[in-house]
């Protein structure tokens, strides 16, 4: 059974239709890239999945439960952790406070404090720089460090699925490499399901896994990233048919 199922989702802003009847599923443990040029509707789709802007049509299911139109905090509490475009660290909070924020949803459970502490240690092991600066203001971190912080923060919620909107945004290529390295290690280690949005398909082809290519609010291609990397259809779809 699929962990996430998006069925014919349509998203509108006033008269503009940003996403038109998009459908895909994501199985437990899978890694799925959603790629496409500026304005393809990738972030809109992410915000709909996270419950921030409910879709105008279609439905979204997570873990076998319909989540269309549910509040973002409810969806997060079901185990879907969204890292939005632009990262959104809480700049005035310390790094540790940023990380601990995500554990609040478990504070009614038995033994959550011990689990939060061990989750914190795990994040610090993965991203040692965060431990070093844990009492410092998060707003003062560099872009790459902030990206590590928000991934760590998403991990702290102990999610089943992490969705990340453009992790490479504004990062130097070697920093992006580092971020991906840790993501992939985490995925293997925690059996995480990953949904990653990137503009370019290069990263998806490198990492492997499944890839969806969106353009103009619609899904153009859906398949194995490695195989698609070889095909000319990818280039054509990305830049548009008959535009050159």
């Amino acid at each position: 059974m699929s962990l996430l199922a998006v069925s014919d989702v349509t998203i509108r802003y006033g008269r503009l239709t940003a996403v038109r009847e998009v459908a895909f599923t994501l199985a437990e443990g899978e890694i799925l890239f959603i790629t496409g040029p500026n304005g393809a509707g990738k972030s809109s789709l992410m915000r709909a999945i996270a419950g921030v802007t409910p879709p105008a049509g279609g439905r979204i299911d997570f873990g076998g439960t319909e989540i269309t139109g549910r509040a973002p905090e409810e969806i997060a509490r079901m185990g879907l952790s969204m890292v939005p475009e632009g990262r959104d660290v809480f700049g005035s909070l310390s790094i540790e406070e940023n990380l601990m924020l995500g554990t609040g949803m478990h504070s009614r459970e038995r033994g959550w404090k011990a689990r939060a502490a061990s989750a914190l240690e795990e994040v610090y092991d993965t991203f040692p720089i965060l431990k070093e600066r844990r009492h410092g203001q998060a707003g003062l971190l560099s872009g790459g460090q902030q990206q590590m912080l928000v991934i760590g923060r998403a991990l702290m919620t102990n999610p089943r699925l992490i969705a990340i909107d453009e992790p490479s945004l504004g990062l130097a290529p070697n920093i992006t490499d580092q971020v991906y390295e840790r993501l992939i290690a985490l995925r293997a280690h925690r059996k995480l399901t990953l949904l990653i949005v990137e503009q370019s398909s290069t990263r998806a082809v490198m990492v492997g896994g499944r890839m969806i290519l969106m353009r103009g609010g619609q899904v153009l291609l859906d398949g194995d990233a490695g195989a698609m990397g070889q095909s000319e259809a990818l280039q054509a779809a990305y830049f548009g048919y008959g535009e050159h």
């Binding site: 905090e73 939005p84 959104d88 809480f90 005035s92 909070l93 924020l101």
Partner: protein, 301 residues
């Protein structure tokens, strides 16, 4: 001299508490709550039986102080939370201007409700009369109330600051004030945080109404108005949404008022407030973002 200092601190306490009540709600909702002053008035009137007589018929006011104070704080908090559930919740996605107008309207509803039950005539009450006795400190005589006002404010500010910095709820409130959408995506419950902010703000309104009621010995449906205006200005000077800024600016405004009262020549004193507002304009000209600008005031809910 010492008298001036104590006057400044006790007036500043009122403004700081008022400003904090406004800043708390602004932080999580981007709402400037003009009904706050009417919550102050309501909290005092909750002690009285409805009647239009000049002499108040005391009802809950006969309680001993250790019950009376929590009672008034709870009334303020309760009314404030109720106004969130009944009114402001429906305006969460509305523009700040719409919410502001809703708060004006709510303020009028509360005021006219009191007017209906109690008439507009101020009523004399004796709230915590033991506090009006003078005490002598370092050679200066002042009402015990003034001293207690200052001490109680300091204790409240300290407790609130520990609460906001050290508790889970405080952490969620600070995160929500900075970026509510992101906080929700981490599982922070919007309703809980907003209701909590309203409860705290309402309890602060209750505290102000105790101080005002004890100071003036009257219950007046307009009593919240004057404090509110200054408190609102303090939140703007402090940097809207910044809790520290609101408190700092509240004390500064209190000090400015008292100092001008003493240094202005007697014939200019009736115009004291004009001078205070003049100073406010100067501050805003040089620091339009306020003394302490709140960081990243991004989206609301």
């Amino acid at each position: 001299m010492l008298q001036v200092l104590f006057d400044a601190l006790s007036l500043g306490s009122l403004y700081a508490l008022g400003a904090l009540g406004i800043a708390l709600i602004f932080g999580v909702m981007r709402l400037v709550n003009f009904a706050h002053g009417d919550v102050i008035a309501f909290s005092v009137f909750a002690l009285l039986w409805p009647s239009t007589d000049a002499v108040a018929i005391v009802f809950a006011g006969q309680m001993p102080w250790f019950l009376l104070i929590p009672f008034i704080l709870a009334v303020g908090a309760g009314l404030s939370v109720l106004s969130e559930i009944v009114v402001f919740r429906r305006f969460r996605h509305a523009s700040p201007a719409t919410m502001m107008i809703a708060s004006f309207a709510l303020g009028f509803v509360i005021r006219y409700f009191l007017l209906m039950l109690f008439s507009s005539r101020p009523k004399s009450i004796s709230l915590l009369p033991a506090l009006s006795q003078p005490v002598e400190i370092l050679g200066a005589r002042m009402p015990l109330l003034q001293l207690i006002t200052i001490l109680a404010t300091i204790v409240m500010l300290f407790a609130l600051s520990v609460f906001v910095r050290k508790t889970r709820f405080g952490l969620e409130m600070r995160a929500a004030a900075e970026n509510f959408t992101m906080a929700r995506m981490l599982g922070v419950r919007a309703n809980r945080v907003i209701m909590g902010a309203f409860a705290l703000s309402g309890a602060l309104a209750g505290a102000i109404s105790i101080i005002l009621g004890a100071q003036t010995g009257t219950a007046d449906i307009q009593m919240g108005g004057a404090v509110m205006l200054m408190a609102f200005i303090a939140t703007v000077i402090g940097g809207l949404g910044s809790l520290e800024g609101a408190v700092l600016a509240g004390f500064l405004l209190g000090a400015a008022s008292v100092v001008m009262q003493t240094v202005l020549p007697p014939e200019a004193r009736p115009f004291r407030d004009a001078f205070v507002y003049g100073a406010v304009i100067l501050v805003l000209l040089f620091r339009p973002q306020g003394l302490i600008s709140a960081r990243g005031t991004k989206e609301r809910v």
